[in-house]
Structures are given as C-alpha cells and as structure tokens.
Symmetry: C2
Subunit: 445 residues, 2 copies
C-alpha cells in the first residue's frame, strides 16, 4: 500500500555508532498488521527501515490475525469453562509465534533481532488470570539486547505472576505492554500501529468530512476510547498518562504522521468541541417504582458490579409518592445477564416493573473544558433537534456530552453534530463554541 | 477403538487417600495421539481412568499432530535460515498448546490438572538450540502439584538454558523428557504411548507373522531404535538405561500390555536372535583410490561430522598399490550434502573417483550376545542367499548384524531372516541359534 513500507532499506548491521544518543522508540503492531506471513514481512521491512534511519527499537506484537480466536475455539470444544490459568497458558502461545516469526523475518533482511516472551522481557503482573494488571517491569534483558545492537521483539498481552504463572492482560493488553515498556525504558516515544492512520473527528465511514486529528490530550483520548474508539485501548492511555509517555497512533500500511496523544499542555488547540464518538450497541434497563430510601441504588449497582457488568449512563427520576424510577444502560451483549440481575434486585426491592430493551445507540461530543461552557451542550441538543432526532437519556462529564438515541438514528445524529460544530474544518476559530479544532474516535461500527 | 479408552470413568476427585503409597507413573503421549480435539478428549479419558484407579500421574505431551511441521512451514516462508534460537521460540508453542488443551479437557471430566511448560517443570538444558541436552531436572513444582492431588501435564521436547532461553531437545525430545522426569521423580514406571502397541519382531506390514515382544533389554532396544524402529527414540532409551527407568511402550488406542524395556537381567529370554529391523532409506558413497596413509579416514569422517552428517556403515578395503577404497553409508536425505563434502575431501586427497548412489536399504538382525555365536551370522547370510538376495556391505556389533542391500529386496530379506530364525514363534527353544524368542522394530516403511 505504501512506498515507505514496500521500498525496503537494508539496515547497516549491528553495533551502529553512537548507540546512546540514538532515539529509543517502542512500536506496537496489532494482529491485523501481522495477519499473514506477507504482512509480517512488510512489518519487518518497516522496522528495518526505521533501524537503518538510526533509531533503537523495541517492538511489541499481538497474536497474528485470528490466531487468538482460533485457539479459543479449539478450547471451547474441549471445555467451555476451562480454568483461566489454562486459558492464559494457551493464549500466550499466540504472541510467542508472532515474535519468533517477526524476529526471523528481520534476520532475513539482515537486521539483528531477538524475540522475548513476556516473562523474558520482565513483565511482572498480579495473579489475576485473563485480566492481569502489570505490577512491575524488569527490563534488564531488554536493555542488554538493545546494547548489543539488536531490535528487541516482545510478546505483548502476557506476563508472569509472582507464582511463576503465565498471565494475560486482557483486552488491549498489547497496547498496555507497549506503553509500560516505553515508560520503564524511558523511551522517546511509543508508536501504536493499526490499520487506521490515527484518531478522527468522527468515524469516516459515517461522516465523509471527518478529519484526522494531529494531537489530542490523554483525557480526551480516554473519554473517546471509553466511548467506542477502537484505535487505542483505554488502559494503555491511562498507563501513558500516569507515566507521561507520548503515544503516536499510526497506520502500519501508510506513511502518515498519525495522531499524537500527549499531556494537555502540549495540545495547542484549545477549542472546546474536538470529536464525535458513537456506539451502536447499547441496551436500556429501568426499575420502575422502587421505594425512595437510602441504599436502593447501592443495592442495584453493587449487584451488577458483582456480576462484572459495566453500567454506563444512570438516571434516577424525581421521587413521587415515595417511589423512584432508576434507568441505566449497558452494552447490548450484557443485556441478558443484566436483566436477570435487575429482575432479582427488583423483586427484592418490590419494584413495580422492570423494563429491559435493546436497540439503542449513544452519540458523544468530546472536548476538554466543555463542561464549563453551557453553549456546547445547547448547540448539541439544537443540532439533534434540527435533524429530528429524539434524545432518550443525557449524561455529561468534564470533557464530554453523551446522548442515548434509538439505534437507527445514530448515523444521522453523528453527522448532524459533526457538521454543527464544524469538526471537519482544518483551522478552528479559537474560543468559539461552534468551531472546534476537531478530534474524534471511530465508533464500533 | 478400544473399550478401555471410550468407556470413560469419572475420577474420584482431589486428595485421594494414601497419596504417598500410590504408584507414581510418568506417561508420554505423542503427536499422533493428540492429532485432533477428539483425540485429546480420548487421551484425557484414559488419564482420568488411570487416576481413578489410584495412580499419581505426570503426563508428558508432544505438539498436536502436524503442528510442528505447520510452524516450520510458516517460518520457512519468512526465513529458511532462521536462527536456531528463534526456531526454538516458535516450536515450543506447539507443546504449550497441547498441555493447555489436555489440562482443560481433564477439568471437563472433573479431573484436577495443571499444565506446565518445560521451564515451569524444571527441565534445565545446555545452550545448544534445536538439539539441547537435558543438564538437570528441578521438579519441585511438579512435586508440589502432585501433592495437591493434581494430574501434572508437562510440555515435552523443551527446556530452559542457563541464559534463560527456551531450548528444544531435537528429535525424540518428548520421550527423553518423560524418561528424565521419571528418573528425577523416582517414578515406578515410564509409559510411552504411540499408535503402535509395542515393539515387534519385525514390521508387521512386511512380515505377517511378526509378534509383539513382551520384554526387551535397553541394549537391544537402543540398537533397534538406531536401526530404524520408530516406537522409541534412542536418546530416551539411553537416558532410561543410565537412570535405570523401566519404559513400557504401549498403544494409545488399545488396552494391550505393550513392550517392557528394562535392564538385561530382567529379560528372561536369553535366546540370541530377537528381532529384524530394516531401513529403506540408505545411500552409499565411496572414495576410490585414496592414498593408504595415516589420517586419511580421519580427514574424511571429521569433515562429515563437522557437517553434522551421520555416517552409518564404513568399510575400508585392503590396500593395493598404496591406494585404498573407503565406502560408507548415510541416510538418503543426507546424500546431497554428504556427496558435496566427500567430493571436497576427495579432491584434497587426490582420490581417483568419488561414487555416490541412493537406492539402498539395510536389514539387521538383533539380539544380545549374538557376536559371540558365529552361527547367527552364518544363518543370516544363508537365509539371504537362499532368498536370492545379494549383500552389498556387512557391519556387526555386540548385539546386531546389519546387511546393506538394494532397496527393492528389503521386504524379501526381512521375511527370509524372520522366518529362518523362527522369530514369530511364541515359545523359543532356549540356546538354539535358529529359534529366537523374537523382538524387533518397525522399519521406516
């Protein structure tokens, strides 16, 4: 796809001069960038070029293409409720295959490389299988290999528990591995490669005028990741914020500059509205006529949390006749489980009715400092009203306004809000609520 | 295939009484026993039954079916000369998939199990990638899991070097892992499961009257493994001999008693001829007219060894006119490489000609103590002459006589020798050179 990738440059061999002064960069390549041996070769070319250009490189990779899904499928046949420890033992092989193949592909280009599993790279985690948290990084081996002039290829998504068990980090784990390594190594940058070339003001499949954002703050990016952006996992952005690591989201297949995610002060563009994110898979539940007394909401949401159900928007109505209505939303895939839990709590509390309905979507406008400017919310509601879109629920935070809508009007709503705030426009008018130097996330499609 | 495998018994749960007094058995299952999820389930049933019968079990497994070949094929596409270290990194995933799936399948049957990689199981090796030797076993984790009442599933074929690198043990590595674990744990037995139900007096596909041998000595088994038997790898038998571990070769798919490989004293049957082994893939090379002076043979065979080419039979002719002929055999797959090496040495030494020809086979008669009884060799040559088979080269050892033949007469030769020594007969006549309580190996087909 790109001349920069295909025109492969031979690196100049081990022991390039002036190792210490050369930029140290962590790069992460996801499964879609490594789907086939041909993909692996193209990634290797890109890496070899970067090394030839004088950078010291640590590469973090995911499992190839659908490898993880295929492993899970063979397991499901044998034991759909296999212990999490054994699932981790199985899944960790996916990244181990990737690192060995990528390191070998680099050697084929004359580029010295060494692959390291999570435990060899010093990724130490807690004991929670399938969603372990990184507890510490001990990158002495990584540093030794860098000093020897090699490109270091690290298996993402995996680590070692204090008991010597292989753990996996759960969804977005490889992004988190990359950011944690960048922090531990004091890397100059952490580049996250995927099949999109950055963060957009809206999903380009929905909004034709959507524009790539060149720079965005950690807070805004976290909100966007939370609201359905697929470019970066929220855990990785949190990890970057805490450790002050600059992330660059770029495309594996094109040579563009991507989107830089960094601290707020570095974002020159202080316009309020930055991007529109959307999520098409939202379900709504409500407990109607529950007693208006302390502890009722706690009872409901503690039960949902206990079942590991993520609740998003919550609205509690004004009390009338000593009774309340509590409505909330969950991801569509969690509806059956959430409904069962809500009905149980509803019976206990003597609720008059429990409603559960799929078929919703959520459209969010994101931008740092929006909360202090009421004009932004008003502008969003006006845009939706003009487009004939009915708002079912509203939720706000410091840096976003989210509206729950019927699923079938999500596209209309995204376009209306993107247009109303001029997010596709290249040069924003600073200080104006109607003209944002835009930034946004791809929705879940 | 077998009622014993299909009629699956539920184990009686963790913490069976009297743990210490229960037999400790190491069992190894090869790739063909684990070719599909259905195979894995059947192996799991067999293991769960054995545990329910009161045995403490450590299971060593290979990669599933063709998994290793598939991994090597993806690697070949990217880099046919990948570093051995990266090949090991890649191949080790094959067994890791097997252990996780098998442990999960056991849990599905209610049988507590835990999978361990080579490094978790304490398999410590030297630094030689792709054909590492086991340097030490540190099975403390295995013992801890056994004490907790679990079936321990260990990835065969792999270990950890002193530098913390993943190594693989090379051909037959999983058998060796099993025997080394049995030795380190002081196990009562080491059972090696495959798709054949033991060691035979000859390949049953060639000789219809071939008979399963119930007991055979380490020495005889090593000679047979060396001569082409596929049931057990020679390294594993050597390891068993050194550590005094009794091996039982059994079938995964049937319930027979298999063949017991143990120390000589335990073999009741002292007949001379035990089995006929054959190998169809032999090539012959000769350096003709080389100077008859010290160091010539050394020069040739050192060069071949340096190229890691295994030489089998060697014949040096009587000197005439200060010149010698040196002929030797190698595996057919090593012929191109061996010929190149031989021609190089031939030029250096001023050889008159270098001959290289594929299309040979080898038939061997095996039995402890044969060397001291000249009647055995005479009987073998007579049988071959009666069958019209021409002998091209002969080599002998303490416990075997091997004849090089044209490939197309191998089957005829195997049948003639097997018949002449009555190896298919159940009860041997002790002391007779013509009636052996037979024992033999499957050839390479």
């Amino acid at each position: 796809m790109s001349a920069a990738v295909d025109g492969c440059v031979q690196p100049t061999g081990p022991g390039l001069p002036g190792t210490e002064s050369r930029a140290l960069v962590v790069q992460k390549f996801g499964g879609s960038s490594l789907a086939t041996p041909d993909h692996v070769r193209r990634v290797a070319c890109r890496i070899a070029q970067d090394r030839a250009a004088g950078r010291r490189l640590v590469i973090v990779v995911s499992a190839m293409g659908d490898a993880t899904d295929e492993l899970l499928e063979s397991l499901r046949v044998l034991n759909p409720r296999a212990p999490a420890r054994e699932v981790d033992m199985l899944l960790a092989t996916g990244e181990q295959v990737s690192i060995a193949l990528l390191a070998s592909a680099l050697w084929a280009l004359g580029c010295p490389a060494v692959s390291l599993t999570g435990w060899q790279a010093g990724v130490r985690t807690d004991r929670v299988h399938r969603k372990a948290q990184i507890a510490a990084m001990q990158p002495s081996r990584v540093l030794r290999e860098l000093e020897a002039g090699r490109v270091v290829i690290v298996a993402g998504f995996q680590g070692l528990s204090p008991d010597g068990e292989i753990t996996t980090l759960g969804r977005g784990g490889s992004d988190t591995t990359a950011v944690a390594l960048a922090a531990a190594l004091g890397a100059d940058e952490c580049e996250i490669y995927s099949d999109v070339d950055g963060v957009y003001t809206a999903d380009p499949r929905v909004v034709r005028s959507a524009r790539r954002i060149s720079i965005i703050s950690y807070d805004e990016m976290m909100e966007m990741a939370h609201l359905g952006a697929q470019v970066l996992q929220i855990r990785a952005v949190e990890c970057a914020l805490v450790n002050d690591v600059t992330i660059i989201a770029r495309s594996t297949f094109t040579a563009g500059p991507g989107t830089r995610i960094t601290e707020v002060g570095a974002v020159e563009d202080h316009s309020l509205a930055r991007a529109v994110a959307h999520d098409r898979h939202v379900a709504r539940l409500a407990l109607c006529g529950v007693p208006d007394r302390p502890g009722v909401a706690h009872r409901l949401f503690a039960a949902l949390a206990h079942q590991h159900i993520n609740v998003d928007m919550i609205i509690q109505s004004q009390s009338r006749n000593g009774k309340n209505d509590i409505a909330f939303t969950v991801g569509s895939d969690e509806l059956p489980h959430a409904e069962e839990t809500a009905r149980g709590v509803g019976r206990e509390l003597g609720a008059e009715a429990v409603l559960a309905e799929d078929g919703y979507g959520k459209v969010s406008l994101i931008g740092a400092g929006m909360a202090s400017n009421p004009g932004v919310a008003a502008g969003m509601f006006a845009a939706l009203a003009d487009a004939g879109v009915n708002i079912e629920m509203i939720s706000t935070s410091e840096i976003k306004i989210s509206c729950l809508l019927r699923r079938e009007v999500v596209d209309t709503a995204v376009r209306a809000v993107h247009d109303a705030f001029n997010l596709g426009r290249e040069s924003p008018l600073p200080g104006s609520t109607r003209a944002g130097g835009a930034v946004s996330a791809q929705g879940r499609g």
